[in-house]
Amino acid sequence: MTDAALPLQSQADQRAIAAIRRKNAVWRRILRDPPAAAAALFLIVIVGAALLAPWIAPFDPYASNMRLRLCPIGGARCPDFLLGADNQGRDMVSRILFGLRATLGIGIIAVVVGGGLGALIGLSAAYFRRLDQPLMRLVDVLLSFPSILFGLAIAAVMGTGLFSLVVALSIASVPSIARIARGAAQSIMQQEYMEAGRAVGLGDGALIWRYLALNCWPTILIYMTLQLGQAILLGAALSFLGLGAQPPTAELGSMAADGRKFLSIAPHVSTLPCAAIFLVVLAFNVLGDALRDALDPKLRQ
């Protein structure tokens, strides 16, 4: 690279950076939206509780005590169990904390792996025009499979369990993120700074990483947040069907399925995990929606 090219390149850099800054302002906007701020706060608390589960859980989530079996919330038999006991006499508070840990962990790993792969596909499709058709056809094929079917098929081939669940949820996250990443990247491709970067002789790798990826990143992250809610729901549904986490693992979906048999005598055993899933997914969706609205200039007016 010649010396004369340097100021030009730094100009291109600065424009790209300014575009990123504009998008960062979105996060500040979120904090002024009460439901979104509440959802964010709730999620911080929940993720913290899930991470700290082994230290803050009052009891061992796997220690059963058959004398406390199906003890209701506030029952005289189990004064120490704030939310009662399940069908094995295990403390519901501890099980829900560990269940959150498993359910959130599965969803986050799946969305990071699947979303990362999807982002790579989407960016490549937008940058290398020749790859656009084949890659997007592949994404169409993935999209034409209702994602729960991936879960079923993969559980059939690889056996039921947490690993196949994560694989299935990751694959299910690929196509929608790929589409979003491609859309975002295509609009960045039109920007002047891409042309400027190319003109000063930056290679494909540098253009993709420094300009394209860094500018698409906020959009992709927002859709990953939205996808996370969906991944958690799907994972819980698969575990509920008996194809994901297996009992006695404390995972919210399989806990809900486990408690189903006692619905008429001890509804809290399945209702509490269901409510936990609902609140977490709701918080992710509220936050994701607010982020999306803040990014969409059409709705801002």
Binding site: L152, L233, F284
Partner: protein
């Protein structure tokens, strides 16, 4: 929108699914007492020792003749099994759409007309709750409070929908499945309607003295329906997924429940047939959506 490569890809995935299966079909068909020679003979019969691409070609040929093999468990033709379960699934989806889509469109229209008011906020809050709730919780609550009280049946299908017993038995599954569908439809209708309400032709209609509701319904809503139709078409894929949980919970004899049963009992031909029919069904619905587009927006048909 749909095209031949997509169909081929779906078939390829279905085919490969059978290839990665850890159990050897020939051994399963031959049974536990078969000798090695018998297993080899069956493998030869089934064409399992041919190269993969030859097997794929033969597989395509069979699929086009509607020959999807036989269930490993019941030994009945997979096509016959699908034929038995297809109608209950279609019935369940129609029963869900028939109340969820009109309700979603009504709520979305109401929210758009009263934009920014309490009504709008309440409808949007309900809609985000609808997409966040695990479908099995809706089912569990209905089973607990409605089924448990003996108000409505919640186990199985008691006949076709036009009989009284059949109608009663479809209510709870259809409400469960539809509950997760109202929200997205309402939200999409609202967003889309808000965009069209700002369009020039709407202002023209208003200038000509049309009443508020007439403008909303005659001029804006029809144009706003285009993205809503897309969404309904796309969501039907997810509806197929949701119906798996619903059918399993309510012991509804549909394709989804059959697929779960086939997969958990390692009945791979049946499982693969069920997946294929669900994917093809989804694509057929997308085709229908394209046709609907042309009706809603004549520009698409001409262009």
């Amino acid at each position: 929108m749909i095209s031949f490569p997509v169909l081929l890809g779906v078939l390829l995935i279905g085919f490969l699914l059978l290839q990665v299966v850890p159990t050897d079909p020939a051994t399963v068909v031959a049974g536990p007492t078969a000798t090695k020679a018998e297993v080899d003979a069956i493998r030869n019969d089934l064409g399992l020792n041919q190269p993969l691409w030859v097997q794929f070609g033969r597989y395509l040929g069979r699929v086009f003749h509607l020959d999807l093999g036989r269930s490993m468990i019941s030994n009945r033709a997979v096509v016959d099994e699908i034929a038995l379960t297809l109608w209950p699934t279609v019935e369940l989806m129609l029963a869900c759409l028939i109340w969820a889509v009109p309700l979603g469109i009504t709520l979305g229209t109401l929210a758009a007309r009263r934009r920014g008011t309490v009504v709008d906020r309440a409808i949007m809050a309900l809609s985000v709750m609808g997409v966040s709730v695990p479908i099995f919780w809706v089912g569990l609550l209905l089973i607990q409070y409605v089924g448990g009280a003996g108000l409505l049946p919640f186990q199985g299908r008691n006949g076709p929908i036009w009989t009284a017993d059949g109608f009663m038995s479809i209510i709870l599954p259809a409400v469960t499945l539809g509950a997760v569908f109202v929200g997205p439809v309402a939200r999409m209708t609202r967003t889309s309607l808000l965009e069209t309400l700002g369009a020039d032709y709407v202002r023209t209609a208003r200038a000509k003295g049309a009443s508020d509701w007439r403008v909303t319904i005659r001029h804006a809503l029809r144009n706003a329906m285009i993205p809503v139709v897309t969404l309904v078409g796309l969501q039907i894929g997810f509806l197929l997924g949701g119906s798996i949980v619903t059918e399993t919970m309510f012991a509804w004899p549909g394709v989804g429940r059959m697929a779960v049963g086939a997969i958990t009992s390692s009945d791979f031909p049946l499982a693969q047939g069920a997946i294929l029919i669900l994917a093809v069904g989804f694509m057929a619905i997308n085709l229908l959506v394209d046709v609907l587009y042309a009706y809603l927006d004549p520009r698409i048909a001409r262009g």
